[in-house]
Amino acid sequence: MSIIYMLLAISVVVAIIFFIAFIISVRKGQYDDVYTPSVRMLFDDELVKPDPKENQPVNKVKSN
């Protein structure tokens, strides 16, 4: 049963690793703005859109 020492040590270490990860994320400012990333996330697909149509006329005025 002395394996329980080992298990305890592991569980505490794992908990502390997550705790440190949390502290780092707060320190980096991940919790400062919790709204914008939720919107930004939705743009990603559009950002990759790869067609900067070369030589396209700047003003394509349609008259009617």
Binding site: I4, S11, G29, D32, F43, N64
Partner: protein, 800 residues
């Protein structure tokens, strides 16, 4: 027809471009810029997301001054410059998208990041390819004008305070782990191996609880100490007592091998308390409640000086202007310091400073005060004082601006905690006294158990959760409060002081009266047609009330900026505008009754050089004003305090309830003093205002509320900002604050009930750790549920 870019109704001119309609060439230009750079996805994200750009020539010339650049740039090295701006017009996801794709518009921009709640953008760019001035101009051209004011000048090292999140994290982490470790003992399994390991488990729990007590809980000790030193038994005193007794008794128990201790309850208690604090800490980061004149004043002005016989202009920091310097103020610019007018036609709008609605005309040699806005052409001034010493800015040296209002206010929780602490201490002493005689071995146990179980966790949570909920509900209904304490203070208000201009009146002048000779049909038709073509705000207002069915389009149309319109149709020639422009000053002097009130805004009209009459514009009062005043006056005194003249006294008297006191011609300093006098008579005063002229009064009052047409526009330092559309609901906000206090009181009763159950266990000497571990979270959670349900229930009326 609505503009494809900004969504405004297209009025005079409608531009058709790529089968899309635009209200003005500015909007069309933005569309062209975005479209030609493959950024038209902007319009797919949201419908009509744009802002009509408004660029004034020369406005940003000061960004070429290196000293000013130094102050603005956050980082400046070689090829990389970083700058942050506040952009008030950020309002939707399209805005985020376009601003974060600025690098597609100009290769000089490396990256940009938007903070939507704060409405700020942080740009990294290369000043070799794109100067800061051009960067700002680029933003202005696409409709996102940054706000650069004297505020930007003082680089604030405002490191965000994240300590509460850390504390909450530590407490939550420890709480979870301790619960996990104490599980075996909850079931009291007398198993061999568990007996073997229980010491290890207990000391592990002890070490987890150390950061909870000494880091997460330290604010309670500090606050309790401060309270005791100044003789106040605040709510943190019993909490700190509870925490320390919990910790000491538990440590003693495990050290002497008497039991498991209460480490689980201890960390749970701190965790829940901090959760309450966190919940109450709702902030509206895009609003600032601490603004002073610096947010309004420009960062630089144009100074003129003579060098080698030549007159030259330069852009210079406002702070560097000394007495005697000559400066130039352009149309729509703010006068930053008291000065004497040297050259030019000054028409100064002081509405910002005094509340006076009408611009005043000044001639050369007149003194101009800081804060006025020039309307019209360029004027030349000689500075009389430095910025900080001007008449308006000196208001901020009054001590009221450095005082913290909240420190004086004793909230409900603290009022209760005083009696509560005495009661708990006497119960603890009495019951342990009883046990000393009955069974002395248990006396110490009972004493500590009472202090543990009576720790007012639920009481301390009642107010944060109730007020935090109400704060959010208010926010959804466009009343943004600085913090939750304001709600308690609002409930105690017995005197409400209103400013007039801009607060109880609207800014648009929709009440229009015509005085003079009646216009013929032809004249009326041409008038409508001419006004339709004009973009001047007065033309817009006037056009809105005229008959729009028979309109003749003018054959010739000239708009003289700052003067008026001249139009012809067939043989009819109309002049519409200022008296001087219409050229009928003598006629007005002689025959027209309007003469006695020259302060009114009027539009004069002449047909074929013959004076016809004038349309006078009045400020109209906000919707529901009479009803609001009637409702508020039932149990509060109402006072009107205006910086304007008393021209509207009679009309006001018809609207407001009898007995409402009114004071006119009040200067900013008078208003502050007036509020102070009321408070010395023991009144709890709310000030409702709108401009900088109310700033002193807003700061002095118990609760200062600012009415704002557009909450993105800056408002002076205050305790709350109310969207103008909800002005009529001010009474409901009052009611709701009162009800919130009742909810808190009910929650106190509920938590007392839990405390009585717990005390039953404690006094009889039977407090098991597991009972404490169940009772504490249970009482806390039921308080949270109760307050949430109740606040939703009482705010039904407001939502609708």
């Amino acid at each position: 027809m609505d503009c494809y870019h900004c969504g405004e109704e297209c009025r005079s001119e409608t531009l058709l471009f790529q089968e899309k309609y635009f209200c003005c060439s500015g909007c069309k230009t933005v569309f062209e810029i975005l479209d030609s750079n493959d950024l038209s996805y902007y319009y797919d994200l949201e419908k009509s997301p744009g802002i009509s750009p408004n660029l004034k020539e020369g406005k940003y010339d000061y960004l070429e001054n290196t000293e000013i650049l130094d102050k603005l740039l956050e980082f400046d090295h070689g090829n990389t410059q970083i700058v942050s701006f506040t952009i008030p017009s950020i309002h939707c996801s399209s805005c985020i998208w376009i601003l974060e794709n600025l690098n597609k518009l100009h290769k000089g921009i490396k990256s940009s990041q938007v903070d939507f709640p704060k409405k700020t953008i942080r740009l990294s760019f290369s000043s070799e390819e794109l100067s800061l001035k051009n960067l700002v101009l680029l933003l202005v051209r696409i409709g996102y004008e940054p706000n650069i004011s004297l505020d930007n000048f003082e680089k604030k090292e405002n490191g965000i305070d994240r300590s509460l999140i850390y504390k909450l994290g530590v407490a939550g982490f420890a709480f979870g782990n301790i619960m996990f470790l104490s599980f075996p003992e909850y079931f009291e399994i007398n198993e061999f191996w568990l007996e073997q390991f229980k010491h290890l488990f207990r000391w592990l729990m002890f070490s987890f609880s150390l950061p909870v007590v000494f880091y997460s809980g330290k604010d309670y000790f500090i606050s309790a100490y401060k309270g005791l030193r100044s003789g106040i038994l605040n709510i943190d005193v019993p909490i700190a007592l509870g925490i320390s007794v919990l910790f000491l008794r538990s440590t003693a128990e495990i050290a002497l091998d008497l039991g498991t201790g209460f480490f689980d309850s201890l960390s749970g208690l701190v965790f829940f308390l901090l959760l309450g604090k966190f919940f109450q800490q709702k902030t509206y980061s895009f609003l600032s409640f601490e603004r002073d004149y610096k947010s309004y004043f420009p960062i630089a002005v144009t100074r003129i000086f003579t060098e080698e016989g030549k007159t030259r202009e330069e852009q210079i920091q406002v702070y560097k202007i000394e007495k005697g310097d000559r400066i130039i103020i352009r149309n729509e610019e703010l006068i930053p310091m008291d000065a004497i007018l040297i050259k030019g036609k000054a028409k100064i709008d002081y509405s910002f400073v005094t509340g006076e609605a009408e611009p005043v005309t000044k001639i050369s040699g007149d003194k101009l005060y800081a804060g006025g806005r020039q309307q019209g052409g360029i004027i030349e001034l000689e500075a009389l004082k430095q910025v900080q010493q001007s008449y308006l800015t000196q208001l901020w040296s009054d001590e009221v601006f450095s005082k913290d209002k909240n420190s004086v206010f004793q909230n409900l929780t603290n009022q209760i905690s005083k009696r509560f602490t005495y009661a708990v201490l006497s119960i603890a002493i009495l019951s342990s006294a009883f046990w000393i005689f009955y069974d002395a071995s248990k006396a110490w146990n009972v004493f500590t158990a009472v202090l543990i179980i009576a720790c007012p966790c639920a009481i301390a949570l009642a107010a944060p959760f109730t007020l935090g909920n109400i704060l959010r509900i208010f926010g959804k209904n466009h009343l943004y409060l600085k913090d939750a304490n304001i709600i308690e203070q609002t409930a105690e208000i017995d005197t409400v002081v209103f400013d007039k201009t801009g607060t109880i009146t609207t800014n648009d002048r929709s009440r229009i009266e015509y005085e003079g000779i009646e216009l013929t049909n032809e004249e009326k038709q041409l008038l409508s047609g001419s006004l339709r073509a004009s973009n001047h705000p007065l033309s817009r207002s006037l056009y809105n009330i005229l008959d729009k069915h028979n309109i003749s389009t003018p054959e010739s149309f000239t708009e003289h900026t700052g003067q008026g319109l001249e139009t012809t149709y067939k043989d009819l020639r109309l002049k519409i505008g200022s008296p001087a422009f219409v050229n009928q000053t003598e006629t007005i002097d002689s025959g027209v009754p309007n003469k006695k009130k020259p302060e009114k805004t009027s539009v004069y009209i002449s047909a074929n050089d013959q004076y016809k009459g004038c349309f006078s514009f009045h400020n109209s009062y906000r919707d529901g004003l009479a009803e609001l005043f009637r409702r508020l006056s039932e149990d509060r005194e109402l006072i009107i305090l205006s910086g304007d003249n008393d021209g509207e006294r009679e009309r006001l008297q018809e609207i407001v309830p009898e007995g409402t006191r009114m004071f006119f011609n009040q200067k900013p300093g008078n208003k502050l003093q007036f509020i102070k006098d009321l408070q010395q008579k023991g009144r709890k005063v709310m000030m409702v205002g709108d401009g900088l002229n109310d700033a002193g009064a807003l700061a002095q009052s118990n609760v200062g509320i600012v009415i704002s047409e557009d909450i993105n526009v800056f408002s002076p330092a205050c305790d709350g900002i109310l969207g103008a559309k909800r002005f009529k609901d001010l009474g409901k906000f009052f009611d709701l604050s009162g009800k919130a206090i009742k909810v808190i009181k009910l929650s106190f009763l509920l938590s007392l009930f839990y405390n009585l159950i717990g005390l039953g266990f404690a006094v009889s000497g039977n407090l098991m750790p597991v009972v404490a571990a169940i009772l504490m979270p249970l009482s806390s959670i039921s308080i949270v549920v109760f307050t949430t349900l109740m606040t939703q229930f009482i705010s039904k009326d407001l939502k609708k």
